[in-house]
Symmetry: C2
Subunit: 429 residues, 2 copies
């Protein structure tokens, strides 16, 4: 993509409303723009990253055997009255009325809707187990939205739901999602710690939060250093991680006798990016759904629900992956892999070499952003560092004469002058 | 995908609430389920089709040079007060208040928001021309939602917006979108007629609707038979189509002297699936945005907006592509390419052959839905015809003994007994 054909409104100054680094960088790099308190438009670069994160989340849900569907954003209040949550939910629920005065709401989550969708068709044990997910916009009317997309009001969430016949089945489903979460965060290049959690308003006994480690994280977590030695490729990773001590500060402080020796107890800051719950028959009972069990009696299926904040993950990635010059994207979710900087736009030699590079990389299937703006070199350097693409190809009159292109690795800062062929090979990956 | 691992709740009977065939078939084939009046959940099969339609729309927008972004669903009322449309829009706008009592709305369209997003950053003629699009859920609170996703309240729309410096530029952008629409509908396997349209509430002079021809279409259109001879591959297709008479009935009746001789005037039924507008400075004036022109004076950019009903298109495709047994999907948007019917689930020979077929096609990248339910053959035949995948592979004890698989083409109904290898080759495409 040529920068003049898309829309990357980079800002030189830190916007005054942004308190944390991911929020500052997302605004400065032109990834998002706030359109109302806690509500964001995803500009072209930000949207590309969002799609890539979404696709990584999707791939791991598919692998876990969850079927994808898509539920609407607007829900009927009656569905929530059935479960008892319409009154319980509080002011974070965005309530509204349609033109006929019917009570509706903008879904903050979908336990009720999916339970109704699936169990009004399921009749027997043969329809179970089943796991579903969707990736859809949610709204939670935070009293004080802040930190950009980290605590926005309209946000993109992957929420999955499992239905099982018995407690053992529910744990199998729970562990499948646990595993999917470990894989998802690893695929995003993030180190995530699963933390035993109280279950909160969704209810139930078994629950973990996943925290991405970042110095700027909102919460402190305490965990056994042994946790860091557990590989997610270990087939018993879920069992081992579940058995390893990890708590959020507030919960940790309630623990009278911490089982972890002081020298092995780590304290780190984390950002919550996922939350999984197994809550049994909470909704199937309150909403009155049963299926025929193997012995012919009617049983309430047991459920779990599993959320990942897809849009929030972008903030978390940036908190974990940046330096003083800007974002340093992990390759797998960078909006483009390569940025071309033309130091003298309008110079025949520079333009021609940039066009060649752009076409050859594009034809080779490499995603390229070409800064073809009529701007000074300094602004282009700063902008490209800020945007944080993994590789930069810098084209100027000197290189054109010498027959070289400068290749810069954004993460290491290493710069090398290479022939065109070597430069293309280096960045193509 | 194995049918037992996903969720395809096919219905034997026509649901009483569905009046038109696409609505009936979408419910019966388990593509969607209504969750509130005019609001639908997209079940796994329906969601797959929706994604494929979305991707075809996306590809043609990208080709037209439009930059993709994503605007939120909830908008601040103040933005619409600026353009004057907050009061003008009427009861189809879903209005709401957040917890602080601020007026908000669920976006029915995005002219105001995108104008504000882009033009608050654009300063000069060098920032133009520019074209954007997004594919996002919209809400229009229809008084009487009906016909399933054809006239729903929450619906998925692709809306694009162009910004140009002058009238000529605006026409170039308009024609690019016109061309993109022709290509989009052709890629979906649909015959669409562009009809000169009054512009309605969006405003402006130049406007076309695109109608998919279907006997069950909601509106009647009149057009010159010469229109059918214009190929969309003709580089002058847009100019020729624009110059060819085509009107919706209501507009046609206002025409005093129809320029088309009676014998060349066709009357067909159509479904509106797209609408494009060029409305000039309507929003840039009302919202007070200018950029510096080439001569240094401040000018109001000229705009166009371009909508496609992505979710509605699924209904339109089914209206155009079905028979008495069910849906007949065009290959490019079928939820799966091949369906496997196991006529005797649990029989070792049948199960093994089905598993082999399933694995080989899946490994070859062919999308397969395997009906592995413990159901009678009759129900599986009817269900697979209803779902309408292009190819069926039917595996029964007789074939297993004879070493053959029955291949059925859903469109033609042709059935052939073939060896496994020939059957796989035939359906792989």
């Amino acid at each position: 993509m040529r920068m003049t054909q898309t829309f990357v409104p980079v800002l030189k100054e830190n916007p005054s409303e942004a308190q944390i680094v991911s929020h500052q960088l997302m605004l400065r790099a032109g990834l998002v723009r706030q359109t109302a308190a806690g509500i964001y438009a995803w500009l072209p670069l930000g949207f590309r990253v969002l799609q890539k994160i979404e696709n990584i989340v999707r791939a791991e849900q598919d692998r876990a055997g969850a079927a994808e569907l898509l539920m609407p954003t607007v829900q009927a209040a009656d569905l929530w009255r059935k479960s008892g949550r319409y009154d319980a939910y509080g002011p974070e629920m965005l309530r509204l009325q349609d033109r006929h005065g019917r009570d509706m709401l903008y879904g903050p989550t979908n336990e009720e809707m999916l339970t109704d969708l699936f169990l009004s068709s399921a009749t027997s044990y043969r329809d179970l187990p089943k796991m579903f997910y969707h990736i859809q916009w949610k709204f939670r009317d935070e009293r004080r939205p802040r930190f950009g997309v980290m605590r926005g009001r309209e946000f993109l969430m992957k929420d999955a739901y499992s239905f099982d016949l018995d407690e053992d089945g529910m744990r199998v489903s729970y562990n499948k999602q646990f595993q999917a979460y470990l894989r998802t965060f690893a695929a995003l290049g993030l180190k995530a710690v699963p933390v035993r959690a109280p279950s909160g308003p969704i209810g139930g006994d078994l629950s973990h939060e996943f925290h991405v480690l970042a110095d700027t994280g909102e919460s402190a977590i305490f965990y056994d250093a042994a946790l860091e030695d557990i590989s997610i490729d270990d087939p018993d990773a879920v069992a081992k991680l579940s058995a390893t001590y990890a708590m959020e500060e507030e919960e940790h402080e309630k623990v009278m006798d911490c089982p972890v020796p002081q020298e092995r107890l780590l304290k780190r800051r984390g950002i919550e990016v996922g939350h999984i719950f197994a809550f049994g028959t909470k909704y199937t009972q309150s909403m009155g759904f049963t299926v025929q069990g193997r012995d012919g009696t009617q049983v309430h299926p047991l459920m779990g629900s599993y959320g990942v904040g897809v849009s929030r993950l972008m903030g978390a990635v940036i908190e974990a992956c940046h330096d003083e010059s800007g974002i340093v994207w992990p390759e797998q979710i960078a909006p483009y892999r390569v940025g071309i900087i033309n130091l003298r736009q309008g110079d025949a030699g520079c333009d021609s070499l940039c066009d060649t590079i752009y076409e050859r990389l594009t034809n080779a299937g490499v995603e390229v952003l070409y800064d073809d703006r009529d701007e000074r070199g300094g602004a282009k350097f700063a902008g490209m560092d800020l945007i944080g693409l993994p590789w930069q190809l810098i084209v100027g009159p000197k290189g054109v004469s010498a027959g070289t292109v400068e290749v810069k690795n954004r993460r290491t800062g290493e710069r090398t002058d290479l022939s065109l062929e070597d430069a293309l090979e280096k960045v193509a990956g």
